[in-house]
Every structure is written in C-alpha cells, then in structure tokens.
C-alpha cells in the first residue's frame, strides 16, 4: 500500500513528467493559453495514459520483446483515436480549440515513456497508480500554467474578464515566451520542494 502511494506521488514530485523528466513539453506550452483548454487536454491525456498503461500491463506477458514498440504504438494510437472521436462528438468547441494536439497525444513521449519504462514491467495495480500519478502531475502543471497565463495575458479567469477596463493585460504571457517564463519558475519551485523532501528523508 505504501509502495503504491510512493508510485503515485512520484508522478507529482520526484518524477513529474513535465517539470522534472521534461517530456511532453510541446502540448503543455501550446495548449496552456486558457484554463478550459488545459483541463480538456488533461482529461484527454489522462484517458490515453491510463488506458494504455492498464492495457499494456494486462498483456505484458504476451508481448514478444521484438514487437513491443509496434504494439505500444497500436494501443496508444487506438486510445488516442477513440478520445478524439469522443471529443469531436460530445464537445465540438473543445475539439476546435485543442485542434491538432489531441491526435498528437500519440507521439507524446510521456505516454510511450511510461508504458515502456513502467507498465510493461509492472502489474495492473502498480500501473494504475503510476498512470494516475503521472496524470495528476501533468494536469497540475498544465492547468496552473494555463491559469497564470490566462490571468496575466488575457485578464480572464475561465473566460470571464476580471480586470477593470483601464488595465491592459500583459500580452506576452499568452505568447510562447510567457509559457517559458512560467514553466521555468515552476521548475525552480518544484526542484526546491524536492530538495527539501529528500533532505527531510535523509535526516
């Protein structure tokens, strides 16, 4: 039980996919313009990650070593297409604003990375803990970046304007450099937290 908690928390702190492993940055930078987009992206991404990790973990003993990458890609591709169709059918506005980034989940390195490094070697429950941790880790980062960018760059929270009309929002935060500023600051903060955590553990 403790071990599962460890696996889950690792996805948020020591092995946070975006801030520590530095993978999957493309979608984080591109989609984090509005909070709604970030939440939608997190949902789509979590669906694919959890589905793929569980599937691969369930069939891990049947996968021949030489075939593992093609099978991973088929599984991830299938889940991505399923979520893409679902989003298109039930949330067309989200589909419009996320655009190309949903199909691009297929090549998101977090997913193939976790499937290869973790769930192809671990059982179902551990894979579930890992995929949940990685999803929460990803979601916290992208949603917090999006919230700050939206607030500073567009002057809105969930699309509702919060600034008095005479204050102009800082446009740079909606543009790509703004994303880099915030992601840099978040990396620094998480590194500081991790340092503190490991020091506490050492004592």
């Amino acid at each position: 039980m403790n071990n599962l908690k460890q696996i889950f928390l690792r996805g948020i702190f020591q092995d946070n996919p975006v801030l520590i492993l530095m993978i999957g940055l493309c979608s984080v930078l591109a989609v984090s313009v509005t909070t709604i987009n970030a939440i939608g992206m997190t949902a789509a991404y979590s669906f694919v990650l959890i589905g793929s990790e569980l599937t691969i973990s369930a069939i891990r003993n049947f996968i021949p070593k030489t075939l593992r990458i093609p099978i991973f890609i088929i599984v991830i591709g299938a889940f991505t297409t399923i979520i893409q169709l679902l989003v298109k059918a039930y949330s067309p506005s989200l589909d419009k604003s996320l655009g190309i980034f949903i199909p691009l989940i297929v090549v998101n390195c977090i997913i193939i990375g976790r499937v290869e490094a973790f769930s192809s070697k671990n059982n179902l429950i551990a894979s579930l803990a890992d995929s949940l941790g990685m999803s929460v880790g990803y979601g916290l980062v992208i949603v917090s970046i999006a919230f700050i960018r939206e607030l500073l760059g567009s002057g809105t929270i969930f699309g509702i304007p919060v600034y008095p009309p005479f204050i102009k929002p800082m446009l740079i935060f909606v543009l790509p450099p703004g994303a880099f500023f915030i992601i840099g600051i978040e990396i620094a903060i998480l590194n500081a937290i991790n340092k503190k955590l490991s020091r506490n553990k050492g004592q």
């Binding site: 049947f62 099978i71 299938a78 169709l85 679902l86 298109k88 059918a89 067309p92 655009g99 760059g153």
Partner: protein, 191 residues
C-alpha cells in the same frame, strides 16, 4: 531455420491479434460517434445560417459554386437564402483564406441589395491576443451593411486591429475576393 520461421509466424499472429482488437475498439467508437459528429456539424451550420439570415425560410445549396477560387480564397460552401419560394433575400458563403498564422475559415452573408449582411470568422490560428481579435465584434462589426462596391482596403475604408495589420489585411482581402467571386458568378447566372 525452422525455429526462426516459427518465430516469425508467432510474431505475425501476435501483432495481427493486437491490431484486430484495436481495430474492433476503434470501429465500435466510430460507429457510435459518427451520427453524433454529423449532427453537431449540421447544428453548427444551421446556427450560422439562422444567425446571419434569421428571416430566411430555406437555404439552397449551390453545388457548382463550391471549390471556386479567387487568388488564394477558396469557396467551401455556398447557400442561397430564400424567404419564401423564389424570393431570394441573399446568399451565404463560407470560405478559407490564408492568414498570418494559418488558414482562416470565415462566412459572409450578402443581401440582394448589394450589401454585406454579416461576416463571421469560424476558425483561425492567428496569434492569441493580437491577430485573434479578427473575431471580435469591434472589428467584424465594421463590415456590417458595407456596400459591396466599396474598396475594402485596410487603413482606407477598413480599420485595422492594432498590432495585427497582417491578420486584418488577410481577412479583408479574403472578404473582397469572395465578394468578387460570388458577384461574377451571380452575373453569369442571369445570362
């Protein structure tokens, strides 16, 4: 030799099985979502039609106009709006034109007295906060009731968006190209 052949067969079967299961999952999702997606697209189209011509009774699609180009502006869809049988009140054209950051999808409504009824940008990838303002009412509003014979030149009779001149020019050029295109065909129609 024998064992390697067997191995290849086993690999092939495994890969085939995995692909088949994946294909099954996909086809089930596809067949469930296909009607819903089609309905959503239809609803979006009807909403756009109703918004631009609230008093039209029916919209007749003009298949022969679809795909016509003028410069880099391409007609994607063309509807004639009728208020009752044979009473044309205008037409509705959706088209694409290249913008600053990608293709802009837009819809124009034109009334029979030679004025623009409305311009809507339905999809675009312009810079957020700058070019993305081409969707704003403040910008598109200036096209409402504009005469088709006007010049459509940014900074002359069209006000540009601050710091987004290229996007403003792109959509204005697209609108003008589209008007010319539909006017010409209109003239050809009556011949």
């Amino acid at each position: 030799m024998k064992s390697s052949t067997k191995e290849i067969v086993v690999l092939g079967i495994t890969l085939g099985l995995v692909s088949m299961i994946a294909a099954l999952g996909l086809s089930i999702t596809y067949s469930v979502t296909k009607p819903v997606i089609a309905m959503q697209a239809k609803k979006a189209l009807e909403n756009a039609q109703k918004e631009i011509f609230p008093d039209a009774l029916e919209f007749v699609r003009q298949e022969d106009m679809i795909g016509k180009t003028n410069g880099s502006t391409i007609i994607k869809d063309f509807y004639i709006a009728n208020s009752s049988e044979n009473t044309r009140i205008g037409y509705l054209v959706s088209a694409t034109t290249p913008g600053y950051g990608g293709i802009i999808y837009f819809i124009i409504g034109v009334t029979m007295d030679g004025r623009l009824k409305s311009v809507k940008v339905s999809e675009h990838t312009e810079t957020p906060g700058l070019g993305a303002n081409i969707t704003s009412k403040g910008f598109l509003g200036q096209f409402v009731n504009k005469k088709l014979s006007d010049e459509f030149v940014v900074k002359k009779d069209v006000k540009a968006i601050t710091a987004a001149t290229i996007s403003s020019k792109a959509i204005t050029k697209g609108i003008k190209a589209l008007i010319d295109l539909s006017q010409n065909s209109e003239a050809g129609d009556t011949k």
